[in-house]
């Protein structure tokens, strides 16, 4: 522990370094958030504020069936993408790290490329892959004999959600793989050796050593996946526009739609809902990270 006099002189020394960053953050993050919170309590006719609305924007939003649909879509989208991305990512981290295959780094980089591709390119390419006219996905499924007629992946409300979930999992699993690999590499190797001496098999080692020791990385990874899924906009917007029939309209899409038609009462109230949800997850995330950091 340093003594008190150093603490205060340190604050003075730190100020010139951190002040510009703080000012910019206030201007670009705090002020906009205050702005949109204030907006959600105002009556707005699209041309400007026309009075105080209290909680009316919110009550109106909650009674709007579109909002309920957006929430349930967001839950389905988030849970399925988080769970599947994690399972696939972790599976490949385990396979690559804990097997005797050669060129581990090479395999990892190849898989990781999917993460690096710009989001809009991912979405556009998959839109083309899922197309009913000349799309590769249908063609592959047909030649494998799994389906007879082309599935209208993005234009049928039965399939649209499945299609966008596939793309998000494809995009996020490589990141999970990377994170979990880092977690696996940080584990002390001698634990496995002593488990070997005690006669543990690979299933036992995975269940009773690997999993418990990876708790923190797992938690961080899953939280990040949650936040990304809740906040995702471009992938869904480009692939389906939230359609067909609102079947892929998540909260992000709903906010954008309301904003686009200048229904600012609804847009700002929906935005605050999304803000609350993602900040709740972000706070848990930060708590875990800070605990790790000590």
């Amino acid at each position: 522990m340093k003594n008190r006099s150093i603490v205060s002189s340190d604050a003075r020394k730190a100020l010139p370094f951190i002040l510009p960053g703080i000012l910019i953050s206030v201007l670009l993050i705090i002020y906009p958030l205050v702005y949109v919170i204030r907006m959600s309590f105002m009556k707005n006719n699209g041309m400007g504020v026309s009075g105080f609305a209290g909680f009316r924007n919110y009550t109106k939003l909650f009674s709007n069936p579109q909002f309920g649909q957006a929430i349930s879509n967001t839950v389905v989208w988030t849970l399925s993408t988080v769970i599947l991305s994690f399972l696939f990512g972790f599976l490949f981290a385990l396979i690559i790290e804990n097997s005797s295959i050669k060129y581990k780094g090479f395999w990892r980089s190849l898989i990781f490329i999917a993460w690096v591709i710009p989001g809009v390119v991912k979405a556009t390419t998959w839109k083309w892959l899922f197309s009913t006219e000349g799309g590769m996905v249908n063609s592959l499924l047909q030649s494998a004999g799994l389906i007879h007629t082309a599935i209208p992946w993005l234009t049928d409300s039965k399939y649209a959600m499945i299609a966008i979930v596939i793309v998000q999992v494809w995009a996020c699993a490589p990141y999970v793989m990377l994170m979990m690999t880092a977690g696996l590499q940080q584990m002390p190797k001698d634990i496995y050796e002593s488990a070997d001496l005690d006669g543990a098999n690979i299933v036992q080692k995975t269940l009773f050593i690997t999993f418990p020791m990876l708790q923190n990385v797992t938690f961080i990874c899953v939280l990040l996946l949650f936040i990304w899924a809740i906040n995702e906009f471009s992938l869904i917007w480009i692939m389906t526009n939230g359609g067909p029939g609102g079947s892929t309209m998540t909260l992000s899409i709903l906010i954008y739609n309301q904003f686009k038609i200048l229904n600012l009462n609804a847009a700002s109230a929906s935005a605050i809902m999304q803000l609350i949800i993602s900040i709740a997850f972000a706070l848990v995330y930060v708590k875990v990270i800070m605990k790790e950091e000590g």
Partner: protein
Amino acid sequence: MNKRSNPVALVLIYALLLIAVLMTLLPLGWIFSTSFKPSTEIFQTPPRWIPQNPTMVNYQQVLFNSTIPRAFLNSLLVGLISALLALLIGGAAGYGFARFRFKGNRTLSMFMLISQMLPLTVLMIPMYYMESNVGLLDTPFGLAVAHLVITLPLVTWMAKGYFLGIPKEIEEAASIDGCSTLQAVTWVVLPLVRPALAATGIYAFISSWNEFTLANVLTQSDNSKTVPIALSQFSTFFKVDWGSTMAAAAIITIPVIVVFMCVQKYFVSGLVNGAVKG
């Protein structure tokens, strides 16, 4: 762990890996395959991977007859401004957080971390009005400033990690030799973290290059439209010209992949450090 797996398991593992790699690379391959196809081959069933009559016509279309080249320049400009500002401001802040103990240090670091996770669909609404009020709407500089929302917390957080890795004693030795704080930072600390900071700057650049949500709202004309927006507009027409859309996708993706390959070492460890070690 036991490194001598039996051969059957090993074959199975290679098979699984091959599937995973194919899953990752096939969409990428499909981009290039489509981009070299003449329009007569694009909707051919069953689709072929190798074009029968490969053509450059799609690339010509994109390079000489579309908004992509202009958008490419806009994206470069926006990304450079945003990354440089973030490096300058965020690098300094990261140093401040790493080196000095003061009240609020922890809270401020937490704030930086949380702000990386704010939904852009929330921020886009106030930002639209703010930028329109100060005349920054639909300008590359306006978008670059808006992208600081993403790049600044990112650079600050990563820089903090790098500076924490430099022992304080090095600076103390420099100040005994008569260096001021600023001199010690400039001549002793910065050279040590330069590669890592450069990688962070590249990461910030790529984040800006890829960003869609804010750009979609804050840019309207060709003067400020970035590549993600230009590309998305390719595929919104009723009858999509997939040949040139994929050529445009290739043109946008190649720089990112090349850059990623070059800085992979820092990129990957930075990503992991950002979350695993904090």
